[in-house]
């Protein structure tokens, strides 16, 4: 199943690596990635497209734990079961 995650995160050197590492390790495939620094350059807007057979909350709950992640929303009507 495909999912699109809209993430706002601190603009730190390894932030995208952290997101991708968790996505891979937790068993989801990356199908798309867009990243746009915000105007103040302190944060970045990231659109992460993933696919996987597992429920998406297993990924969103792990991504929420990343210290750099400020906000995470699933596109459309999907909602994570639990949010940080």
């Amino acid at each position: 199943m495909n999912h699109i995650l809209h993430i706002t995160a601190s603009n730190t050197p390894a932030v995208v690596e952290r997101l991708l590492q968790v996505t891979r390790y937790r068993g989801y495939q990356l199908t798309g990635l867009q990243m746009t620094p915000r105007a103040d350059s302190r944060s970045v807007a990231i659109r992460l497209s993933v696919s996987g057979d597992k429920p998406i909350h297993l990924l969103t709950s792990q991504l929420h734990k990343l210290y750099d992640v400020q906000q995470l929303e699933l596109a459309g009507s999907e909602l994570a079961v639990l949010s940080a």
Partner: protein, 551 residues
């Protein structure tokens, strides 16, 4: 003030009195600052050992453990220990030197991408780019290590940042301010209804209870809601010794009573645990009749592997009183008491050779109150969990999640430095002991009175046991019969020792070990045929335990 001096100042402000590490080129400015600092540095003999000592310090005390290493190999040697801290949720701050920013990315001498390496083994990690952000970064590291579910944090500091000057006026004290825990009691009523209606409830207790400081609330909960309780490896010692309904550890090498009770229960109250595969066995067959209440501080653990009928997130100290409902399950308590009696341990082992379970029971009964036991990994680790009793989880240090051989000796060093007034014993195996044996030099240097019990079957015992049971007795690379003379090895580090082979030598040998004022090594030779029982085979349900009689 230089950045390097600021590092020490910030550590002092956080109340750090002991750090564990090993110097090298890229961290020399910090070691130079250390030369005149009041922070006590303990030189380990391998960075992995130093980080394990920081873990032992943290787990025995509840404080943040701090370790340091240089760039490149120093930092990579920390990785295993940080992974251990990650999987067992231990608050550690690791400080690594890095090559100067001017040469970063050029494959400079002892340069490796430490930030990149840290991603999978830390709760968070930083690379400090400017001396102006150094103090705030270190403060954040301490706060993150302790906040919510604790864990390791790495701070990589390039050499130019260590050498940079800044005008810094430190605060007199800096209290660690963990991020407050948001607690939701929305499902408390549902949990109370489940508890009040349960005929066969069981409390499944993990390390999250004591790490939340909720030991008193746990005892009150179990008193107000009498029910059988079981613990994970990390939670041994959580249930008061006088609680008659405690059944021991559950899981692959758990007690038969604990596993059977969980398999039969109609309500499983999971407190600060995570349904680890070594606990559940075959997940589909685990506690098949049970509804689940899951209390945890980490949202990612809820519904990760087992659906929770009622989940409560947040501070265990608040949640436990809020879900207390009273129980009415006298028949169930009687049934579990019968299981406990029926499947109690037997120590009537035939022959003269030392039977490790009995020896560990004797050790447990003889060691002073509040002693700390640091284990290694393997058969002896399971025997310790089965046959020793602890008054608090901080007295039982065992590598649970990562299962890291080589943990025990350096963890004991950290525990002894955290709690110098308490007796500290490491129970290790002949395989595990050799993995960080160099830390005997640390014990010698600092004259640490750590007691070392090496249980020696001249095998990698747990692997051998699995080869025997599941690989047609093809003993591939598990023979250690050419072990060194452990007593002579200890003597090379000025540590006295003694070797025993017979049951009738155990009591006097333990007496000699505890009477000796300094470090001491007791070499305990056991039969290589002895195995750990019971055992839930891979893929089986927890009620399908293999016992010695069945094997």
């Amino acid at each position: 003030m230089k950045g390097a001096e600021l590092v020490l100042k910030v550590l002092q402000q956080h109340g750090v009195d002991s750090i564990f590490g090993y110097p090298g080129g890229a961290i020399m400015p910090i070691y130079d600052a250390l030369y005149q600092s009041s922070v006590k540095h303990y030189l380990c003999r391998h960075e992995q050992g130093g980080a394990f000592s920081a873990i032992g310090y943290a787990r025995a005390s509840g404080k943040v453990g701090v370790c340091m290493a240089t760039s490149g190999p120093g930092a990579t040697n920390l990785i295993t220990s940080l992974a251990d801290a990650m999987l067992d949720s231990v608050p550690v701050v690791a400080i690594t030197g890095q090559v100067s920013q001017a040469v970063m990315g050029t494959d400079a001498f002892q340069e490796i991408d430490v930030l990149g390496l840290s991603l999978a083994v830390t709760k968070h990690s930083f690379m400090v780019r400017s001396v102006d952000e150094l103090a705030a970064t270190l403060n954040d590291a301490f706060a993150i290590a302790l906040s919510g579910r604790p864990g390791p944090v790495l701070v990589d500091i390039p050499k130019d940042v260590q050498l940079a000057e800044l005008d810094y006026q430190p605060e007199a004290t800096t209290s660690v301010r963990p991020v407050p825990v948001a607690t939701s009691l929305a499902n408390a009523a549902k949990a109370r209804a489940l508890i009040a209606g349960a005929k066969k409830p069981v409390a499944y207790i993990g390390g999250g209870v004591h790490m939340a400081g909720a030991m008193p609330q746990l005892q009150q909960f179990l008193a107000a809601n009498p029910m059988p309780s079981v613990t994970t490896l990390k939670a041994m010692g959580s249930v008061a010794k006088d609680n008659a309904h405690y059944l021991g550890m559950l899981g692959m090498h758990g007690t038969q009573a604990a596993n059977l009770a969980v398999q039969q229960c109609d309500l499983l109250i999971c407190l600060g645990a995570r349904f680890d595969d070594r606990v559940t066995g075959n997940l589909q067959k685990f506690a098949p009749l049970a509804k689940v209440i899951h209390v945890d501080i980490d949202p990612a653990e809820i519904n990760k592997v087992r659906f929770a009928d009622a989940a409560l997130l947040g501070d265990m100290q608040q949640i436990l009183p809020a879900i207390s409902a009273g129980t009415d399950c006298a028949d169930w308590l009687n049934h579990c008491a019968q299981l406990k009696q029926q499947y109690g341990w037997r120590y009537d082992h035939p022959g003269e050779r030392i039977y490790a379970p009995l020896m560990l029971k004797q050790l447990s009964e003889r060691m002073p109150d509040n002693s700390v036991v640091a284990c290694d990994v393997g058969q002896h680790q399971m025997w310790v969990a089965q046959h020793m009793r602890f008054s608090h989880p901080r007295n039982h240090l065992s590598s649970g999640g990562l299962g890291t051989m080589g943990f025990g000796l350096p963890a004991a060093i950290g525990a002894k430095l955290a709690r110098p007034q308490d007796t500290v014993i490491t129970v290790t195996g002949d395989g595990s002991f050799m993995m960080n044996v160099q830390e005997l030099a640390t014990i010698k240097r600092f004259r640490l009175p750590v007691k070392i019990v090496v249980i020696d079957n001249q095998r990698l015992g747990m692997v051998k046991q699995w080869q025997q049971l599941f690989f047609n007795a093809r003993y591939s690379e598990t023979d250690l019969s050419d072990n060194p003379d452990f007593v002579a090895l200890a003597a090379a580090f000025a540590i006295p020792g003694h070797c025993i082979t017979r049951k009738d030598e155990v009591e006097s040998a333990l007496e000699a070990m505890f009477t000796w004022p300094g470090p001491y090594l007791l070499h305990v030779c056991i039969d290589d045929k002895d195995n750990v029982w019971p055992l839930v085979p891979p893929g089986a349900a927890n009620e399908d335990m293999i016992t010695e009689a069945k094997a």
